[in-house]
C-alpha cells in the first residue's frame, strides 16, 4: 500500500457557515451570510484522506491545505494544519466574492498550478454551503488530469489510485494513474481530531497568502463577472411547526395506524 516514492497531496478546504446554527441568505444580493463559520465538515474527510495517503507513502511525502476565501477563511487551513497538514495556502482577493463553481474552479486550478507539481488533489464530497459537488470535476477538466470522485474508499498502490464509488443501481471500482483529482465521501474514513501536539505544531507551520495577481488571474475572470450563474431570488422557507405529541399508553400504535389511514396516502 501507498507509494514507494514521496507523494505531494493537496487537500482543498472551504470555510463555510456552521450548519449547527441558522444559516441565512441576504435578501439584497442573495448571497450566503458568512458568520459563525468553520472548516466544512465534509472537507475533514479530504484532509484525513490526504494524511492517510502521506502516511502510507514514502518518507518526505507532504500534505498542503489550500483554501480560497475571505480573510477569516484562513481558519479552515489552520484546522487542517492542526490535523496534520504540513503547509497551507490561502488565496484571498475581494474580487473573488460571489464566484460560482465555474469561477471558483478557475481560481483553484490557477492556485494548484502555482503551488507546483502534485500527485493528488483531494476534495470533500461537496461543500456544506452551496453543495453543488461541481468543483472536483471542473478542476480535473481544467488541470487535464483524471478524476476519481465520490470515493467511498481509497487505495494507493504505487502510482495507481483506486476507489470504490456507489450509484443507485451499481457500484464501481475505478482507477487512475497519478497525478489525479480525488473527491471523498463521508464513508471514506473517520477524520482525526487535532490533538495537543497537533495544535502546538500547527503554530509553527506557514500559510502562504496569495492574491489573484500572484496567480495571474484577472478580476473579470472571477466574482460575478467570471461566473455564468446568478441567483436572482431567494426566499426563506417557513419553519415547520411541530404538531400533536402523544405519549404511548400501550395503544399509541393504534393511534399511529389511525393517523396514517386518515392521511389517505395508502
Amino acid at each position: 500500500m501507498g507509494s514507494p516514492n514521496p507523494v505531494r497531496v493537496l487537500a482543498l478546504v472551504k470555510y463555510v457557515p456552521d450548519a449547527q446554527f441558522d444559516r441565512h441568505i441576504d435578501s439584497a444580493e442573495h448571497r450566503m451570510v458568512r458568520t459563525e463559520s468553520i472548516l466544512s465538515e465534509l472537507d475533514e474527510y479530504a484532509v484525513e484522506a490526504a494524511l492517510q495517503l502521506k502516511e502510507s507513502s514514502a518518507a518526505g511525502s507532504t500534505v498542503v491545505a489550500l483554501t480560497v476565501g475571505p480573510e477569516q477563511a484562513v481558519n479552515a487551513v489552520k484546522k487542517a494544519l492542526q490535523m496534520g497538514a504540513d503547509e497551507g495556502i490561502h488565496v484571498s482577493d475581494p474580487a473573488i466574492a460571489g464566484s460560482d463553481a465555474l469561477a471558483t474552479s478557475r481560481v483553484l486550478a490557477a492556485a494548484i498550478e502555482k503551488a507546483g507539481p502534485f500527485d493528488v488533489v483531494i476534495t470533500g464530497l461537496s461543500s456544506t454551503d452551496a453543495e453543488t459537488s461541481l468543483v472536483p470535476a471542473q478542476l480535473a477538466e481544467r488541470l487535464s488530469v483524471p478524476l476519481l470522485s465520490f470515493a467511498n474508499s481509497v487505495e494507493l498502490e504505487g502510482s495507481t489510485l483506486r476507489i470504490t464509488r456507489d450509484s443507485d443501481a451499481v457500484s464501481y471500482v475505478l482507477e487512475a494513474d497519478l497525478p489525479a483529482v480525488l473527491s471523498v465521501t463521508d464513508q471514506a474514513n473517520e477524520p482525526r481530531y487535532p490533538n495537543f501536539k497537533g495544535i502546538m505544531a500547527a503554530k509553527r507551520k506557514t500559510v502562504e497568502t496569495l492574491t489573484l495577481a500572484d496567480l495571474g488571474v484577472s478580476a473579470d475572470e472571477v466574482g460575478t463577472a467570471g461566473s455564468r450563474t446568478v441567483v436572482v431570488a431567494s426566499e426563506e422557507r417557513p419553519a415547520r411547526v411541530g404538531g400533536n405529541v402523544i405519549t404511548d399508553d400501550g395503544e399509541a400504535g393504534l393511534r399511529l395506524a389511525e393517523f396514517i389511514l386518515a392521511q389517505k396516502v395508502l
Binding site: 465555474l102 475505478l174 436572482v232
Partner: protein, 317 residues
C-alpha cells in the same frame, strides 16, 4: 424554437418515469433532442417521438465499449451535440454521474451549471432548495447555454398533443480527456421495496432500533413503503448506506415520512424536512425530531411500530 438537449443514461422500453420527467423539463427550454451514449432501439426512438422528442443523438458504435474512460466520453458527446444543435440548454439527471458530466461540460463550454433543480421555467429560471431546505432560490445563467441537473419527481410529464418522428443521428466521438478507468461494475441487489427517493411513504430507523430493523421493515411492508435510515444506523452496519437519508445520503420528500428512533440532527433533517407529513416515534420527549413532526409519539418503537403494523394489516383484510 431553439433545441434543448436531454441527457439519458439509459433508455428503457417503455420509457421510465424519470426519463419522461427529464424530457418534460427539456420541452420547456426548447425542442428536445435526446442524447445517450447507449444504443437506442427503433422502438425507443418511436417512444421518444411520442414523448415530444424531435431528435436522438448517439455516438457512432454506441455501446461497443470502444471507450473505457469514465464519463469523459459522455461529456465529449454532449459537447459535440451542443455545438451541432446550438441548443439553449442541457437537462441531465441529478445523479452523481449527471452532476459530474454537467460539471465537466460547464468548463468545456464556459457555461453555467445549476444542480439539484426542482423546477425549470420556460425562460430558463431554475428553482432549487438550499441550506438544508431552509431557503428556496432561483438562479439563471448570465450568458451561454444553461446546464441543469434535475431532481427526480420534480417536474410533471404530460404527453404532447402530437407525436414527433425523431431522426436518429450518429456522430463520431473521440475521447480526448485523460480519464479514470472502470475496473469493475457490480450490480446491486434489488430489494423488492419501492425506491426510496420515489416512494409515497418512507419508514426510517435510526440508532434507536438498536441493531434490529425488523420493526421498521415490518411497518414499511404493511404500508408498501420504502425503508430509510439515519447515518448512525448506517455507520453501525445495521443497514446499507444506499438507504441513508440526509445531507450525505438521499433527499426524500414523500407524502408521509415516519422517523423511528431518530433524534433529528440537522444533517438528517436536510434530507427529509420537505416531506408532506412527518411522524416521529422516539422514547425521549426532548428529542428535536418532535419539533418538526406533525404527529409525535413518545414511546418505544419496538412496541409502537409492530402494533401499528398489525392494526394496518387487520384493517386491510
Amino acid at each position: 424554437m431553439a433545441f434543448s438537449l436531454v441527457y439519458l443514461d439509459s433508455i428503457s422500453s417503455p420509457l421510465s418515469g424519470a426519463s419522461l420527467e427529464l424530457i418534460a423539463a427539456g420541452r420547456r427550454l426548447g425542442d428536445p433532442v435526446v442524447v445517450s451514449a447507449q444504443p437506442v432501439s427503433d422502438e425507443s426512438v418511436a417512444e421518444l417521438g411520442a414523448a415530444g422528442v424531435s431528435g436522438v443523438v448517439v455516438p457512432e458504435n454506441a455501446g461497443t465499449e470502444a471507450h473505457t474512460n469514465f464519463l469523459t466520453f459522455e461529456t465529449q458527446l454532449l459537447a459535440i451535440a451542443l455545438s451541432e444543435t446550438e441548443a439553449s440548454g442541457v437537462v441531465l439527471p441529478n445523479s452523481l454521474n449527471g452532476k459530474e458530466i454537467a460539471a465537466r461540460l460547464g468548463v468545456k463550454l464556459n457555461a453555467g451549471v445549476v444542480t439539484d433543480a426542482v423546477d425549470i421555467a420556460e425562460d430558463g429560471t431554475v428553482t432549487k432548495s438550499v441550506l438544508a431546505g431552509a431557503y428556496t432560490t432561483q438562479a439563471r445563467v448570465t450568458e451561454g447555454p444553461l446546464i441543469v441537473t434535475l431532481k427526480a419527481n420534480s417536474v410533471e410529464y404530460t404527453a404532447p398533443a402530437a407525436a414527433e418522428e425523431p431522426d436518429l443521428l450518429e456522430i463520431p466521438v473521440e475521447d480526448p480527456a485523460p480519464g479514470a478507468r472502470v475496473v469493475e461494475v457490480r450490480e446491486k441487489a434489488v430489494s423488492g421495496r419501492p425506491d426510496l427517493t420515489a416512494a409515497r411513504i418512507v419508514v426510517s430507523g435510526g440508532r434507536g432500533v438498536d441493531g434490529d430493523f425488523t420493526p421498521v421493515e415490518d411497518l414499511a411492508d404493511a404500508l408498501g413503503a420504502a425503508v430509510g435510515a439515519s447515518r448512525a444506523a448506517v455507520d453501525a452496519g445495521w443497514i446499507n448506506h444506499d438507504l441513508q437519508v440526509g445531507q450525505t445520503g438521499k433527499t426524500v420528500a414523500p407524502q408521509l415520512y415516519i422517523a423511528a428512533g431518530i433524534s433529528g440532527a440537522i444533517q438528517h433533517k436536510a434530507g427529509m424536512q420537505t416531506s408532506r407529513v412527518i411522524v416521529a416515534v422516539n422514547d425521549d420527549p426532548d428529542s428535536p425530531i418532535f419539533e418538526i413532526a406533525d404527529l409525535g409519539i413518545v414511546g418505544d418503537l419496538k412496541n409502537v411500530l409492530p402494533q401499528a403494523a398489525a392494526e394496518l394489516r387487520k384493517r386491510n383484510d
